[in-house]
Symmetry: C2
């Protein structure tokens, strides 16, 4: 059956995922050694192709789950990369997504069939194709997101200290923050619950653990706010 679209070009649509993780100190990204030509053996983002039967969000979720085993992950569409020669094999447009996860909770479930490893975002290795550009754009989006959504929490374990939360924001924004000012700004968001429990690993005194107030957190995630750190 003919239709007016029949003379148009069709292309491959890739989905590449920038997976951010945090391990108490540094912001990391998950990379794999590409196991097919071209650029076999080089480092690459986790990626795959869109199927006709799914939308891009679903494809991103499927690809992430397939290559890592991760489920229920925060993902957001980033940008479509479309330079004509970006993939030497064939004309491919790639829609990048970024995801946020907590390294600790997810490292054991990492699917070992694929050689995925965490790399620090600072001094990251060179990636194939235009994947470096994707990472740079993802970082810049992530920085913006911290100012509009309570996003950083996705990267932390369920219970965490203020210090850890601050380290996370410092890693994302790549700058030092003042402890007292940070705490009062975070508290003013009104999404945290202070627990009676202390974390005794980091100091002799021990530091209080926090978790978020699920309800308030969901509320703030759907609204917009402004957090200037």
């Amino acid at each position: 059956m003919l239709n007016s679209y029949d003379t148009e070009d069709k292309v491959l649509l890739a989905v590449d995922c920038i997976i951010f993780g945090f391990d108490k100190e540094d912001l990391k990204i998950l990379l794999i050694k590409r196991d097919f030509e071209p650029e076999k053996g080089k480092l690459s983002l986790i990626g795959g192709f869109l199927k006709k039967s799914e939308n891009l969000d679903d494809a991103a979720t499927r690809i992430l789950n397939h290559l890592t085993g991760f489920q229920d992950i925060y993902m957001e569409q980033l940008y479509a990369f479309s330079e004509v020669d970006r993939d030497p094999v064939e004309r491919t447009i790639s829609v990048a997504y970024y995801a946020l996860i907590n390294v600790e909770n997810h490292t054991e479930e990492l699917n070992q069939d694929y050689d995925a490893k965490w790399f620090s975002v600072e001094n990251a290795p060179k990636l194939i194709f235009d994947h470096d550009r994707m990472v740079r754009r993802a970082i810049s989006r992530l920085r913006y997101r911290t100012a509009t959504k309570p996003i950083g929490f996705e990267l932390l374990p369920e219970k965490f200290t203020m210090r850890q939360l601050q380290k996370l924001y410092e890693a994302i924004l790549s700058k030092k923050l003042d402890k007292r000012n940070f705490i009062s700004k975070i508290n003013s968001l009104d999404v945290l619950v202070k627990l009676d429990e202390k974390d005794m690993l980091s100091s002799r005194k021990g530091s209080y653990l926090y978790k978020f107030d699920q309800e308030k957190y969901m509320e703030k995630s759907t609204q917009n706010f402004s957090l200037n750190l």
Copy 2:
């Protein structure tokens, strides 16, 4: 020649353009009556398909130029829309772009072969497919952009009054602004040049015309800044 991508699905990649214009009072978008089935006769964004030989930015520019005659227009990629059934004819992913133009300067050069007309963004008509969603997302991006780039200027004639600039920002943000505060914030951006000329159309006293300082403007457009209105 076979390669590892051969078993993957290929899809049509559309590019749809949200073209914002400003006519001294209201923020508008340019729409066309679709002249082919399905949904023939209904209102739609300006769109077309990506060719294998071009990237998305080039496709957006080509499509805009072809359907309107406009050239040298500010465009920015917005988002990829990919619901499986978004286009009933065939699986199509659409990457939306938005553009900003000055209605006055461009209405005469509007290509009359296509039945393109300006519609107010407030009380806009219902559009085909998911084009309404695209418009909503474009407005929200545009609002954000006003806070980070000297973007609004693309929508004004070369010489304009402070009043016109304020009206533009009011239309984009959909709220009233204080005249004195607005002027001082704009001036602090340091991109405007006050001319000796006055616009005598709007009042008996006449109001000074401004243009931008090209050099400073370009500087600020590439940097980021923060303008809270």
